[in-house]
Symmetry: C2
Subunit: 373 residues, 2 copies
């Protein structure tokens, strides 16, 4: 039996929207949340789509995420926004923040927005893309439950702390979205679901030594028992561990520090989430002619793609290309969902009194690794 | 015989300032250039101090760097500056750009400055630090001669493309300055001078395969014959190669793209330098109370330093700490300069008709690896 079940995008959209409406979100808000989650699956970022649904389910269930919460601007200038997230859904707080930031950037040329007391927001790239679609350079970042162990440490102190950037270009935009850890927690979750050992150079056990045991590392992260994921650059300074740790710090600065929110090491303690986000929007016209700048970037991206390949490689990607290809493929051929994730979706249907067969077809699956959340 | 000669900071300062005056720079400009170069040595970043003097020497000699050039603002808004560097010294263009950006950020809350047609500017951190000393968050980046091979490629297409960030904190600021490659070209130059093989996972030969031969890699970079340095994250996507390549792209966007300057792969061709820089200054007061934000960052940095260490590690550093310690040590105990670098300094003295013994003491050294520049 295959480990994956293929679902049509539209069916998953209906399932997701109905689930979030059942949780009490409005039609509009359910659409926003669903759009963020499914863009991740469509982009081939399996770790942040349906796979993460269980975290929202558990988060709402245990009160970490407040369904009724609305974001509020608590401080602003023509180039900045500080937003209180009131423990609401990260997607809704972030969508709100990014739209306001885009409006300010249209007038002022640039705007930074920082959000505190929020929750997991899905893929950072979604919000960077919102700015890019308006012809702007968009930045999006978030902190998270601590999973990154700083160089020479053994306790996770920073989140996966992704930094996403998107900027208009032809034939497709520059779109970069990456955690500042070697890999995300979501990747570990997938290895755990597949019951595969982790590659070397990704994770650390509770004493700070390398580990390939996904389940143990994930349990330690939740229990704050030591260990976690290495910064981009790996375990040692020789390969640049301190650099990934540094990018993680930059993310923390724009999310939790300037918002006066919780740093990653203080989030997700005692029934409180406290995740913080950071956004920036820059109008390229502040540097001259946006159309010329776009063409200049497009030329460079083309040169990169057309530059000589290393032996055995058949292409050089520019950032965002893989996502474009994945999107087309999944819209045509459907989205492959891991059966353990489907089991979580079945569980969610049952919890919300939704008809499993109607939404997910003829599946009868049980969740493994229930203890993770 | 030791491979290093110890020099007092003040003596090196006099030597440097006099050398740049001999090249035709004013007293003030010579002081700025010297200050940037020696801060690097004082901070323990040997690759970007006296070790790089030979590049400025050769650059001025062969006309790549124009001594008489002055930077000009060619486009500006209340939140931005585009500066034409006119092939001048990178340090002077950057010092000019950062000072103007700080002034604009004082009024507008934020300013981005981009510089085209410049030259190597020393350590990026110097300029980020300028903003930090005024209570601001400072960013500094630069592209350079192409040395970074994109993931799956075999030809260097991006520079070492460092990103530096500094932000006020106690007892010392957050100060992060790192190339988006695994290591800098300067590190390879040091291994070459020491005639040591490179560690695995740093560099690629002309076919795109791993290499530990510093001299061959450096020669290939200059000849644009293929190979170069890996992005942070190494050779493969599994360890995040595409992420380092992505940070290199972010650097390129703020340096060469928005300035409409030369991307790294087009710099240093046909007697033209064309290096581009990018700077940003953000007043923390746009997010509320700068003093509270500073305290919040200081607390987090303290928590990081005090978090549990991995087995065998005696401390966790926060970014900028090592530089502070190195600075104190070198101010007290002098700066160790590699004898091959001293040989280059002797050569410079002879070229500029400066008294070797007066400036550098009783040394008689010859340069190795002359062919590199």
């Amino acid at each position: 039996m295959s480990n994956y079940i293929n679902y049509n995008y539209k069916n998953l959209k209906v399932f997701c929207e109905d689930a979030f409406k059942k949780f009490g979100f409005s039609q509009g808000d359910s659409e926003i949340i669903t759009d963020v989650l499914l863009l991740s699956d469509l982009y081939g970022i399996e770790s942040h789509g349906m796979q993460r649904l269980v975290r929202y389910h558990k988060g709402i269930q245990n009160g970490l995420i407040k369904v009724e919460a609305k974001p509020e601007v608590v401080f602003e200038t023509p180039v900045s926004l500080v937003i209180e997230g009131n423990d609401g859904m990260g997607q809704l707080n972030s969508y709100y923040a990014m739209n306001l930031a885009i409006e300010k950037a249209k007038k002022s040329g640039v705007c930074f927005a920082t959000v505190r007391n929020s929750n997991h927001f899905g893929i950072a790239g979604y919000y960077a893309k919102m700015a890019c679609e308006k012809g702007m350079i968009g930045f999006a970042m978030t902190n998270s439950e601590a999973i990154m162990v700083p160089t020479f440490g053994k306790l996770a102190m920073l989140g996966s702390n992704p930094i996403a950037v998107s900027m208009p270009a032809e034939p497709y935009p520059f779109f970069f979205d990456a955690s500042t850890t070697v890999v995300t927690r979501g990747k570990l979750e997938i290895y755990n679901k597949l019951e595969k050992p982790l590659p070397e150079g990704w994770a650390l056990d509770s004493t700070g030594k390398g580990s390939t045991d996904a389940a143990a590392v994930l349990k330690n992260i939740v229990a704050k028992a030591g260990g976690g994921i290495m910064p981009l650059g790996g375990e040692f300074e020789r390969t640049g561990s301190h650099k990934g740790y540094g990018y993680g710090m930059i993310c923390e600065i724009f999310c939790s520090i300037v918002s006066m929110g919780l740093t990653s090491n203080h989030t997700h303690i005692g029934g409180k989430g406290g995740t913080c986000h950071g956004f920036a929007v820059i109008d390229p016209n502040i540097f001259g002619n946006a159309a010329e700048i776009k063409e200049h970037l497009s030329t460079f991206l083309k040169e990169l793609r057309e530059s000589p390949k290393s032996e055995g490689a058949d292409r050089i990607y520019t950032h965002g290309e893989k996502e474009i290809f994945a999107y087309k493929d999944r819209m045509e051929n459907g989205i492959e969902v891991n059966i353990n994730t489907v089991a979580e979706m079945v569980d969610l249907c049952k919890y919300l009194d939704m008809d499993v067969k109607k939404y997910l077809g003829d599946v009868d699956l049980e969740i493994k690794n229930k203890s993770l959340y």
